[in-house]
Protein backbone atom coordinates (compact mmCIF):
# COMPACT_ATOMS: atom_id res chain seq x y z
CA UNK A 1 0.00 0.00 0.00
CA UNK A 2 2.81 2.35 0.88
CA UNK A 3 4.89 1.15 -2.04
CA UNK A 4 3.02 3.09 -4.75
CA UNK A 5 3.49 6.55 -3.28
CA UNK A 6 6.94 5.70 -1.93
CA UNK A 7 7.95 4.49 -5.36
CA UNK A 8 6.77 7.80 -6.85
CA UNK A 9 8.62 9.87 -4.26
CA UNK A 10 11.77 7.74 -4.44
CA UNK A 11 11.94 7.19 -8.19
CA UNK A 12 10.55 10.48 -9.48
CA UNK A 13 11.66 12.83 -6.74
CA UNK A 14 14.78 11.39 -5.12
CA UNK A 15 15.84 9.90 -8.45
CA UNK A 16 15.66 13.34 -10.05
CA UNK A 17 17.50 14.94 -7.15
CA UNK A 18 20.25 12.31 -7.41
CA UNK A 19 20.52 12.83 -11.17
CA UNK A 20 20.64 16.58 -10.61
CA UNK A 21 23.44 16.30 -8.09
CA UNK A 22 25.50 13.98 -10.28
CA UNK A 23 24.93 16.25 -13.27
CA UNK A 24 26.89 18.95 -11.42
CA UNK A 25 30.01 16.82 -11.89
CA UNK A 26 29.85 16.69 -15.68
CA UNK A 27 31.84 18.94 -17.95
CA UNK A 28 29.94 21.26 -20.26
CA UNK A 29 30.73 21.09 -23.95
CA UNK A 30 31.26 24.78 -24.68
CA UNK A 31 30.50 24.28 -28.32
CA UNK A 32 27.15 22.45 -28.15
CA UNK A 33 26.03 23.82 -24.78
CA UNK A 34 25.24 20.29 -23.63
CA UNK A 35 26.79 18.35 -20.81
CA UNK A 36 29.31 15.67 -21.71
CA UNK A 37 30.07 12.48 -19.80
CA UNK A 38 33.47 13.68 -18.61
CA UNK A 39 33.79 14.10 -14.86
CA UNK A 40 34.99 17.40 -13.47
CA UNK A 41 35.00 19.38 -10.24
CA UNK A 42 35.16 22.70 -12.07
CA UNK A 43 31.42 23.46 -11.71
CA UNK A 44 31.47 22.92 -7.97
CA UNK A 45 34.65 24.91 -7.70
CA UNK A 46 33.06 27.84 -9.52
CA UNK A 47 29.77 27.67 -7.62
CA UNK A 48 31.30 27.31 -4.18
CA UNK A 49 34.54 29.31 -4.19
CA UNK A 50 33.68 32.36 -6.29
CA UNK A 51 33.42 35.37 -3.96
CA UNK A 52 30.56 37.00 -5.83
CA UNK A 53 28.44 33.86 -5.66
CA UNK A 54 29.16 33.41 -1.98
CA UNK A 55 28.01 36.97 -1.32
CA UNK A 56 24.86 36.21 -3.27
CA UNK A 57 24.17 33.10 -1.19
CA UNK A 58 24.77 34.95 2.08
CA UNK A 59 22.44 37.70 0.88
CA UNK A 60 19.73 35.17 -0.03
CA UNK A 61 20.01 33.50 3.37
CA UNK A 62 19.79 36.88 5.11
CA UNK A 63 16.73 37.90 3.07
CA UNK A 64 15.03 34.56 3.84
CA UNK A 65 15.94 34.90 7.53
CA UNK A 66 14.62 38.46 7.66
CA UNK A 67 11.35 37.44 5.99
CA UNK A 68 11.02 34.56 8.47
CA UNK A 69 11.77 36.85 11.43
CA UNK A 70 9.12 39.29 10.18
CA UNK A 71 6.57 36.47 9.97
CA UNK A 72 7.42 35.34 13.53
CA UNK A 73 7.22 38.88 14.88
CA UNK A 74 3.72 39.37 13.44
CA UNK A 75 2.43 35.83 14.01
CA UNK A 76 3.21 35.77 17.75
CA UNK A 77 1.02 38.68 18.90
CA UNK A 78 -1.71 37.90 16.35
CA UNK A 79 -1.89 34.21 17.29
CA UNK A 80 -1.80 35.15 20.96
CA UNK A 81 -4.72 37.53 20.52
CA UNK A 82 -6.81 35.06 18.51
CA UNK A 83 -6.10 32.16 20.83
CA UNK A 84 -6.47 33.86 24.22
CA UNK A 85 -8.34 37.14 23.86
CA UNK A 86 -10.72 36.86 20.91
CA UNK A 87 -14.25 35.71 21.64
CA UNK A 88 -14.76 32.00 20.90
CA UNK A 89 -17.12 32.64 17.98
CA UNK A 90 -14.65 35.10 16.41
CA UNK A 91 -11.63 32.78 16.52
CA UNK A 92 -12.45 30.71 13.48
CA UNK A 93 -13.33 33.77 11.43
CA UNK A 94 -10.08 35.51 12.32
CA UNK A 95 -7.93 32.49 11.44
CA UNK A 96 -9.77 32.00 8.15
CA UNK A 97 -9.53 35.72 7.36
CA UNK A 98 -5.76 35.59 7.79
CA UNK A 99 -5.16 32.39 5.84
CA UNK A 100 -7.54 32.89 2.91
CA UNK A 101 -5.23 35.36 1.09
CA UNK A 102 -2.92 32.38 0.59
CA UNK A 103 -5.39 31.38 -2.10
CA UNK A 104 -5.32 34.68 -3.94
CA UNK A 105 -2.44 33.82 -6.24
CA UNK A 106 1.27 34.22 -5.70
CA UNK A 107 1.96 36.38 -8.74
CA UNK A 108 -1.08 38.54 -8.18
CA UNK A 109 0.10 39.38 -4.67
CA UNK A 110 3.67 39.96 -5.79
CA UNK A 111 2.51 42.41 -8.46
CA UNK A 112 0.04 44.03 -6.06
CA UNK A 113 2.97 44.76 -3.76
CA UNK A 114 4.84 46.13 -6.74
CA UNK A 115 1.98 48.58 -7.19
CA UNK A 116 2.35 49.47 -3.51
CA UNK A 117 6.13 49.97 -3.51
CA UNK A 118 6.30 51.63 -6.94
CA UNK A 119 8.54 54.62 -6.29
CA UNK A 120 6.85 56.78 -8.91
CA UNK A 121 7.98 57.93 -12.30
CA UNK A 122 6.64 58.60 -15.76
CA UNK A 123 3.48 56.51 -15.19
CA UNK A 124 2.59 58.01 -11.85
CA UNK A 125 3.26 56.81 -8.35
CA UNK A 126 2.68 53.71 -6.31
CA UNK A 127 0.30 53.35 -3.39
CA UNK A 128 2.78 54.25 -0.64
CA UNK A 129 4.07 57.14 -2.63
CA UNK A 130 0.73 58.76 -3.34
CA UNK A 131 -0.95 57.98 -0.02
CA UNK A 132 1.93 58.38 2.43
CA UNK A 133 4.20 60.55 0.33
CA UNK A 134 7.16 58.20 0.24
CA UNK A 135 8.20 54.65 -0.61
CA UNK A 136 11.33 52.65 0.09
CA UNK A 137 11.22 51.75 -3.61
CA UNK A 138 12.33 48.43 -5.05
CA UNK A 139 15.09 46.67 -3.16
CA UNK A 140 15.78 44.73 0.01
CA UNK A 141 12.94 46.20 2.08
CA UNK A 142 10.34 45.58 -0.60
CA UNK A 143 11.64 42.03 -1.18
CA UNK A 144 11.61 41.11 2.51
CA UNK A 145 8.17 42.63 3.12
CA UNK A 146 6.73 40.91 0.04
CA UNK A 147 8.17 37.50 0.97
CA UNK A 148 6.90 37.88 4.53
CA UNK A 149 3.48 38.86 3.18
CA UNK A 150 3.34 35.91 0.79
CA UNK A 151 4.29 33.23 3.32
CA UNK A 152 2.81 34.67 6.53
CA UNK A 153 -0.09 32.14 6.78
CA UNK A 154 2.44 29.28 6.82
CA UNK A 155 3.83 30.73 10.05
CA UNK A 156 0.54 31.81 11.58
CA UNK A 157 -1.17 28.41 11.42
CA UNK A 158 1.38 26.34 13.40
CA UNK A 159 1.96 29.17 15.89
CA UNK A 160 -1.79 29.52 16.45
CA UNK A 161 -2.12 25.74 16.91
CA UNK A 162 0.78 25.92 19.36
CA UNK A 163 -0.99 28.64 21.37
CA UNK A 164 -4.19 26.60 21.41
CA UNK A 165 -2.28 23.70 22.93
CA UNK A 166 -0.81 25.81 25.77
CA UNK A 167 -2.73 24.99 28.93
CA UNK A 168 -4.19 28.05 30.66
CA UNK A 169 -2.97 26.67 33.98
CA UNK A 170 0.66 27.24 33.00
CA UNK A 171 0.05 30.88 32.22
CA UNK A 172 -1.96 31.34 35.42
CA UNK A 173 0.75 29.62 37.45
CA UNK A 174 3.36 31.92 35.95
CA UNK A 175 1.23 34.92 36.88
CA UNK A 176 0.64 33.58 40.38
CA UNK A 177 4.36 33.21 40.87
CA UNK A 178 4.71 36.90 40.20
CA UNK A 179 5.77 37.01 36.55
CA UNK A 180 4.54 39.94 34.48
CA UNK A 181 3.28 39.63 30.92
CA UNK A 182 6.69 39.96 29.31
CA UNK A 183 8.32 37.57 31.77
CA UNK A 184 5.58 34.97 31.21
CA UNK A 185 6.01 35.36 27.49
CA UNK A 186 9.78 34.99 27.61
CA UNK A 187 10.04 32.19 30.16
CA UNK A 188 6.86 30.17 29.62
CA UNK A 189 5.11 30.85 26.32
CA UNK A 190 8.06 31.30 23.98
CA UNK A 191 9.98 28.12 24.95
CA UNK A 192 6.82 26.05 24.55
CA UNK A 193 6.13 27.59 21.14
CA UNK A 194 9.59 26.92 19.71
CA UNK A 195 8.54 23.66 17.96
CA UNK A 196 5.59 25.46 16.32
CA UNK A 197 7.74 28.40 15.23
CA UNK A 198 10.36 25.98 13.89
CA UNK A 199 7.67 24.14 11.91
CA UNK A 200 6.36 27.35 10.38
CA UNK A 201 9.84 28.64 9.66
CA UNK A 202 10.63 25.63 7.48
CA UNK A 203 8.07 26.93 4.99
CA UNK A 204 8.77 30.65 5.28
CA UNK A 205 12.53 30.13 5.08
CA UNK A 206 12.54 27.55 2.29
CA UNK A 207 9.98 29.35 0.15
CA UNK A 208 11.86 32.65 0.55
CA UNK A 209 15.30 31.16 -0.01
CA UNK A 210 14.40 29.61 -3.36
CA UNK A 211 12.30 32.50 -4.60
CA UNK A 212 13.56 34.26 -7.70
CA UNK A 213 10.35 35.76 -9.04
CA UNK A 214 9.45 38.06 -6.13
CA UNK A 215 12.91 39.54 -6.20
CA UNK A 216 12.52 40.19 -9.93
CA UNK A 217 9.16 41.88 -9.37
CA UNK A 218 9.94 44.08 -6.36
CA UNK A 219 13.69 43.67 -5.78
CA UNK A 220 14.95 46.19 -8.32
CA UNK A 221 18.50 45.09 -9.13
CA UNK A 222 18.74 42.77 -6.12
CA UNK A 223 19.54 39.17 -7.01
CA UNK A 224 19.10 35.96 -5.09
CA UNK A 225 20.44 32.45 -5.54
CA UNK A 226 17.38 31.45 -7.59
CA UNK A 227 18.11 34.11 -10.20
CA UNK A 228 21.60 32.71 -10.76
CA UNK A 229 20.24 29.15 -11.06
CA UNK A 230 17.64 30.25 -13.59
CA UNK A 231 20.05 32.36 -15.62
CA UNK A 232 22.74 29.66 -15.68
CA UNK A 233 20.25 26.98 -16.65
CA UNK A 234 18.92 29.02 -19.57
CA UNK A 235 22.44 30.10 -20.62
CA UNK A 236 22.43 27.06 -21.16
CA UNK A 237 24.87 25.61 -18.67
CA UNK A 238 22.99 22.79 -16.99
CA UNK A 239 25.99 21.37 -15.05
CA UNK A 240 26.84 24.74 -13.47
CA UNK A 241 23.16 25.38 -12.67
CA UNK A 242 23.06 21.98 -10.98
CA UNK A 243 26.14 22.94 -8.97
CA UNK A 244 24.36 26.14 -7.86
CA UNK A 245 21.32 24.16 -6.70
CA UNK A 246 23.63 22.39 -4.25
CA UNK A 247 23.61 25.66 -2.28
CA UNK A 248 19.89 25.69 -1.46
CA UNK A 249 19.85 21.89 -1.10
CA UNK A 250 22.67 21.84 1.46
CA UNK A 251 21.39 24.93 3.30
CA UNK A 252 17.92 23.39 3.58
CA UNK A 253 19.25 20.02 4.72
CA UNK A 254 21.18 21.73 7.52
CA UNK A 255 18.13 23.87 8.30
CA UNK A 256 15.83 20.84 8.45
CA UNK A 257 18.20 19.01 10.78
CA UNK A 258 18.37 21.99 13.16
CA UNK A 259 14.60 22.50 13.04
CA UNK A 260 13.88 18.82 13.68
CA UNK A 261 16.14 19.05 16.76
CA UNK A 262 13.86 21.89 17.88
CA UNK A 263 10.87 19.59 17.49
CA UNK A 264 9.50 20.98 14.23
CA UNK A 265 8.41 17.65 12.77
CA UNK A 266 6.07 16.90 15.62
CA UNK A 267 4.20 20.03 14.59
CA UNK A 268 4.11 19.83 10.82
Amino acid sequence: MVSGPVLWLVVVYLGSLALLITSAFFRLDDFTGKSTSEWTLANLDEAFTTGAYRTLVVRSVLIAAAATATCIAVALPVAFYISRLARPWAKRGLVVALTIPLWAGYLVKAYALRAIFEPGGANGGGFLNSVFGGSPGFGYTATIVTLAYLWFPYMLLPVYTGFERLPDSLLDASGDLGAGTLRTFRSVIFPLLIPSIAAGSIFTFSLSLGDYITVKVVGGTTQMIGNIIERTLLAPNQPLAAAFTLWPISIMVVYLVVMSRLGAFKNL
Partner: protein
Protein backbone atom coordinates in the same frame (compact mmCIF):
# COMPACT_ATOMS: atom_id res chain seq x y z
CA UNK B 1 -3.84 34.97 32.10
CA UNK B 2 -4.17 38.52 33.38
CA UNK B 3 -3.23 41.20 30.93
CA UNK B 4 -3.20 44.92 31.40
CA UNK B 5 -5.69 47.01 29.46
CA UNK B 6 -2.87 48.44 27.35
CA UNK B 7 -1.56 44.99 26.39
CA UNK B 8 -5.03 43.83 25.41
CA UNK B 9 -5.62 46.93 23.40
CA UNK B 10 -2.30 46.72 21.58
CA UNK B 11 -2.69 43.02 20.80
CA UNK B 12 -6.13 43.67 19.35
CA UNK B 13 -4.84 46.61 17.33
CA UNK B 14 -1.93 44.55 15.94
CA UNK B 15 -4.32 41.75 14.92
CA UNK B 16 -6.84 43.95 13.13
CA UNK B 17 -4.08 46.03 11.58
CA UNK B 18 -2.53 42.83 10.23
CA UNK B 19 -5.85 41.75 8.74
CA UNK B 20 -6.18 45.16 7.14
CA UNK B 21 -2.67 45.03 5.70
CA UNK B 22 -3.18 41.50 4.42
CA UNK B 23 -6.23 42.58 2.39
CA UNK B 24 -4.88 45.93 1.22
CA UNK B 25 -2.94 44.54 -1.79
CA UNK B 26 -5.93 42.41 -2.80
CA UNK B 27 -8.21 45.43 -2.59
CA UNK B 28 -5.79 47.41 -4.73
CA UNK B 29 -5.94 44.71 -7.43
CA UNK B 30 -9.73 44.76 -7.31
CA UNK B 31 -9.85 48.55 -7.64
CA UNK B 32 -7.27 48.62 -10.42
CA UNK B 33 -9.29 46.10 -12.47
CA UNK B 34 -11.77 48.96 -12.98
CA UNK B 35 -9.02 51.49 -13.66
CA UNK B 36 -9.13 53.48 -16.86
CA UNK B 37 -5.40 53.07 -17.46
CA UNK B 38 -3.08 50.29 -18.44
CA UNK B 39 -0.42 50.75 -15.77
CA UNK B 40 -0.37 49.36 -12.25
CA UNK B 41 -0.20 52.72 -10.52
CA UNK B 42 -2.02 54.54 -7.78
CA UNK B 43 -4.27 56.51 -7.65
CA UNK B 44 -6.59 55.10 -10.36
CA UNK B 45 -7.21 57.42 -13.30
CA UNK B 46 -10.89 56.83 -13.86
CA UNK B 47 -13.62 54.21 -13.72
CA UNK B 48 -14.24 51.76 -16.53
CA UNK B 49 -15.82 48.33 -16.95
CA UNK B 50 -14.15 47.94 -20.33
CA UNK B 51 -11.64 45.31 -19.15
CA UNK B 52 -14.34 43.24 -17.49
CA UNK B 53 -16.72 43.35 -20.46
CA UNK B 54 -14.10 42.52 -23.08
CA UNK B 55 -12.31 39.79 -21.12
CA UNK B 56 -14.13 37.06 -23.06
CA UNK B 57 -12.29 38.20 -26.21
CA UNK B 58 -8.88 37.48 -24.70
CA UNK B 59 -8.40 33.98 -26.05
CA UNK B 60 -4.99 33.40 -24.46
CA UNK B 61 -6.51 33.86 -21.00
CA UNK B 62 -9.25 31.33 -21.69
CA UNK B 63 -6.74 28.80 -22.97
CA UNK B 64 -4.44 29.32 -20.00
CA UNK B 65 -7.36 28.88 -17.63
CA UNK B 66 -8.34 25.59 -19.30
CA UNK B 67 -4.72 24.37 -19.21
CA UNK B 68 -4.39 25.18 -15.51
CA UNK B 69 -7.66 23.49 -14.66
CA UNK B 70 -6.74 20.35 -16.60
CA UNK B 71 -3.26 20.09 -15.06
CA UNK B 72 -4.65 20.83 -11.61
CA UNK B 73 -7.29 18.10 -11.87
CA UNK B 74 -4.89 15.39 -13.03
CA UNK B 75 -2.24 16.33 -10.46
CA UNK B 76 -4.96 16.39 -7.80
CA UNK B 77 -6.22 12.90 -8.72
CA UNK B 78 -2.73 11.39 -8.61
CA UNK B 79 -2.01 13.19 -5.33
CA UNK B 80 -5.26 12.11 -3.67
CA UNK B 81 -4.68 8.44 -4.45
CA UNK B 82 -0.98 8.32 -3.62
CA UNK B 83 -1.08 10.81 -0.72
CA UNK B 84 -3.97 9.04 1.04
CA UNK B 85 -2.38 5.63 0.58
CA UNK B 86 0.88 6.94 1.99
CA UNK B 87 -0.81 8.50 5.02
CA UNK B 88 -2.92 5.43 5.66
CA UNK B 89 0.02 3.05 5.30
CA UNK B 90 2.39 5.09 7.44
CA UNK B 91 -0.15 5.58 10.18
CA UNK B 92 -1.45 2.01 10.22
CA UNK B 93 1.63 -0.18 9.79
CA UNK B 94 5.04 -0.41 11.39
CA UNK B 95 7.91 -1.24 9.10
CA UNK B 96 11.63 -0.76 8.74
CA UNK B 97 12.54 2.70 7.49
CA UNK B 98 9.22 4.31 8.46
CA UNK B 99 10.93 7.43 9.80
CA UNK B 100 12.94 7.80 6.62
CA UNK B 101 9.74 7.56 4.59
CA UNK B 102 7.95 10.20 6.64
CA UNK B 103 10.97 12.49 6.27
CA UNK B 104 10.93 11.82 2.52
CA UNK B 105 7.25 12.75 2.50
CA UNK B 106 7.96 16.36 3.53
CA UNK B 107 11.06 16.87 1.40
CA UNK B 108 9.27 18.03 -1.79
CA UNK B 109 7.75 20.99 0.07
CA UNK B 110 10.73 21.59 2.36
CA UNK B 111 13.14 22.05 -0.54
CA UNK B 112 12.60 25.21 -2.61
CA UNK B 113 10.49 24.81 -5.75
CA UNK B 114 13.39 25.84 -7.94
CA UNK B 115 15.32 22.72 -6.86
CA UNK B 116 12.36 20.45 -7.67
CA UNK B 117 11.82 22.25 -10.97
CA UNK B 118 15.43 22.11 -12.12
CA UNK B 119 15.78 18.47 -10.98
CA UNK B 120 12.67 17.26 -12.84
CA UNK B 121 13.56 19.22 -15.95
CA UNK B 122 17.01 17.66 -15.92
CA UNK B 123 15.52 14.16 -15.63
CA UNK B 124 13.10 14.67 -18.51
CA UNK B 125 15.78 16.15 -20.74
CA UNK B 126 18.28 13.45 -19.79
CA UNK B 127 15.94 10.64 -20.83
CA UNK B 128 14.88 12.45 -23.97
CA UNK B 129 11.25 12.89 -22.90
CA UNK B 130 9.47 15.97 -24.18
CA UNK B 131 8.67 18.77 -21.77
CA UNK B 132 4.94 19.35 -21.90
CA UNK B 133 1.74 18.52 -20.08
CA UNK B 134 3.12 15.27 -18.72
CA UNK B 135 6.22 16.83 -17.17
CA UNK B 136 4.18 19.63 -15.57
CA UNK B 137 1.69 17.12 -14.16
CA UNK B 138 4.52 14.98 -12.76
CA UNK B 139 6.08 18.06 -11.14
CA UNK B 140 2.81 19.24 -9.63
CA UNK B 141 1.74 15.78 -8.45
CA UNK B 142 5.04 15.42 -6.59
CA UNK B 143 4.39 18.29 -4.21
CA UNK B 144 0.60 17.73 -4.19
CA UNK B 145 1.13 14.19 -2.83
CA UNK B 146 2.81 15.78 0.17
CA UNK B 147 -0.07 18.20 0.73
CA UNK B 148 -2.71 15.47 0.68
CA UNK B 149 -0.50 13.25 2.84
CA UNK B 150 -0.13 15.99 5.48
CA UNK B 151 -3.87 16.61 5.63
CA UNK B 152 -4.86 12.97 5.85
CA UNK B 153 -2.11 11.92 8.27
CA UNK B 154 -3.10 14.70 10.68
CA UNK B 155 -6.67 13.38 10.70
CA UNK B 156 -5.60 9.75 11.13
CA UNK B 157 -3.39 10.69 14.07
CA UNK B 158 -6.37 12.22 15.86
CA UNK B 159 -8.51 9.15 15.23
CA UNK B 160 -8.71 6.88 18.25
CA UNK B 161 -7.42 3.32 17.66
CA UNK B 162 -10.27 2.16 19.93
CA UNK B 163 -12.73 2.66 17.07
CA UNK B 164 -10.83 0.25 14.85
CA UNK B 165 -10.45 -2.26 17.65
CA UNK B 166 -14.14 -2.04 18.55
CA UNK B 167 -15.03 -2.65 14.94
CA UNK B 168 -12.77 -5.70 14.80
CA UNK B 169 -14.19 -7.01 18.08
CA UNK B 170 -17.66 -6.76 16.62
CA UNK B 171 -16.53 -9.07 13.86
CA UNK B 172 -15.75 -6.67 11.03
CA UNK B 173 -13.23 -7.70 8.41
CA UNK B 174 -10.38 -5.18 7.89
CA UNK B 175 -12.00 -3.90 4.67
CA UNK B 176 -15.32 -3.50 6.47
CA UNK B 177 -13.62 -1.52 9.23
CA UNK B 178 -12.11 0.68 6.56
CA UNK B 179 -15.36 1.01 4.64
CA UNK B 180 -17.64 1.73 7.59
CA UNK B 181 -15.37 3.25 10.28
CA UNK B 182 -12.11 4.71 9.02
CA UNK B 183 -13.20 6.05 5.65
CA UNK B 184 -16.23 8.04 6.88
CA UNK B 185 -13.94 9.70 9.43
CA UNK B 186 -11.12 10.47 7.02
CA UNK B 187 -12.97 11.41 3.84
CA UNK B 188 -13.39 15.08 4.67
CA UNK B 189 -9.63 15.33 5.23
CA UNK B 190 -9.07 13.69 1.85
CA UNK B 191 -11.45 16.23 0.29
CA UNK B 192 -9.70 19.14 2.00
CA UNK B 193 -6.33 17.79 0.83
CA UNK B 194 -7.70 17.48 -2.70
CA UNK B 195 -8.90 21.09 -2.74
CA UNK B 196 -5.59 22.31 -1.36
CA UNK B 197 -3.66 20.24 -3.90
CA UNK B 198 -5.70 21.65 -6.77
CA UNK B 199 -5.24 25.20 -5.45
CA UNK B 200 -1.47 24.80 -5.12
CA UNK B 201 -1.20 23.34 -8.60
CA UNK B 202 -3.41 26.11 -10.01
CA UNK B 203 -1.13 28.77 -8.50
CA UNK B 204 2.26 27.13 -9.07
CA UNK B 205 4.83 29.10 -11.06
CA UNK B 206 8.36 27.90 -10.43
CA UNK B 207 8.11 24.14 -11.03
CA UNK B 208 5.85 24.91 -14.01
CA UNK B 209 8.35 27.31 -15.55
CA UNK B 210 11.09 24.69 -15.52
CA UNK B 211 9.01 21.68 -16.55
CA UNK B 212 6.66 23.19 -19.15
CA UNK B 213 7.63 22.92 -22.77
CA UNK B 214 7.04 25.66 -25.31
CA UNK B 215 3.42 24.66 -25.95
CA UNK B 216 2.11 24.71 -22.39
CA UNK B 217 1.00 27.94 -20.73
CA UNK B 218 -0.78 27.82 -17.39
CA UNK B 219 -2.68 30.74 -15.90
CA UNK B 220 0.22 31.89 -13.67
CA UNK B 221 2.52 31.77 -16.69
CA UNK B 222 0.01 33.79 -18.66
CA UNK B 223 0.02 36.33 -15.83
CA UNK B 224 3.83 36.35 -15.69
CA UNK B 225 4.10 36.86 -19.45
CA UNK B 226 1.49 39.59 -19.65
CA UNK B 227 2.43 41.86 -16.78
CA UNK B 228 4.98 43.51 -19.02
CA UNK B 229 2.46 44.04 -21.85
CA UNK B 230 0.52 47.23 -21.20
CA UNK B 231 -2.39 46.27 -23.48
CA UNK B 232 -3.02 42.99 -21.64
CA UNK B 233 -2.07 44.09 -18.11
CA UNK B 234 -5.58 45.33 -17.15
CA UNK B 235 -7.00 41.91 -18.08
CA UNK B 236 -4.52 40.36 -15.69
CA UNK B 237 -6.06 42.34 -12.83
CA UNK B 238 -9.54 41.23 -13.94
CA UNK B 239 -8.50 37.57 -14.11
CA UNK B 240 -6.78 37.90 -10.73
CA UNK B 241 -9.94 39.36 -9.21
CA UNK B 242 -12.12 36.59 -10.66
CA UNK B 243 -9.76 33.91 -9.35
CA UNK B 244 -9.79 35.54 -5.90
CA UNK B 245 -13.58 35.69 -5.82
CA UNK B 246 -13.91 32.05 -6.88
CA UNK B 247 -11.26 30.92 -4.36
CA UNK B 248 -12.86 32.51 -1.32
CA UNK B 249 -15.78 30.09 -0.81
CA UNK B 250 -13.60 27.13 -1.84
CA UNK B 251 -10.95 28.09 0.70
CA UNK B 252 -13.62 28.41 3.35
CA UNK B 253 -14.98 24.98 2.44
CA UNK B 254 -11.50 23.44 2.63
CA UNK B 255 -11.03 24.93 6.10
CA UNK B 256 -14.33 23.48 7.26
CA UNK B 257 -13.52 20.08 5.80
CA UNK B 258 -10.07 19.86 7.32
CA UNK B 259 -11.48 20.56 10.78
CA UNK B 260 -13.21 17.23 10.62
CA UNK B 261 -16.46 15.94 12.00
CA UNK B 262 -17.82 17.03 15.38
CA UNK B 263 -15.10 19.57 16.05
CA UNK B 264 -16.25 23.02 15.31
Amino acid sequence: MQLSRTSRWSLRTITYLTIGLVYLPLAIVLVLSFNDSNALVWPPRGFTTHWWSTLADVESAREALATSARIGLVAMLIAVVLGSLLAFGLQRFEFFGKNAVSFLAVLPIALPGIVTGVALRNTFVRFGWDLGYLSVVVGHATFCIVVVYNNVVARLRRMSPNLREASADLGAQPWQTFRYVTWPLMRSAVAAGAILAFALSFDEVVVTTFTAGAGVSTLPQWILNNFSRPNVLPYVTVVATIVMIISLPIAWLAQRLSDGPRER
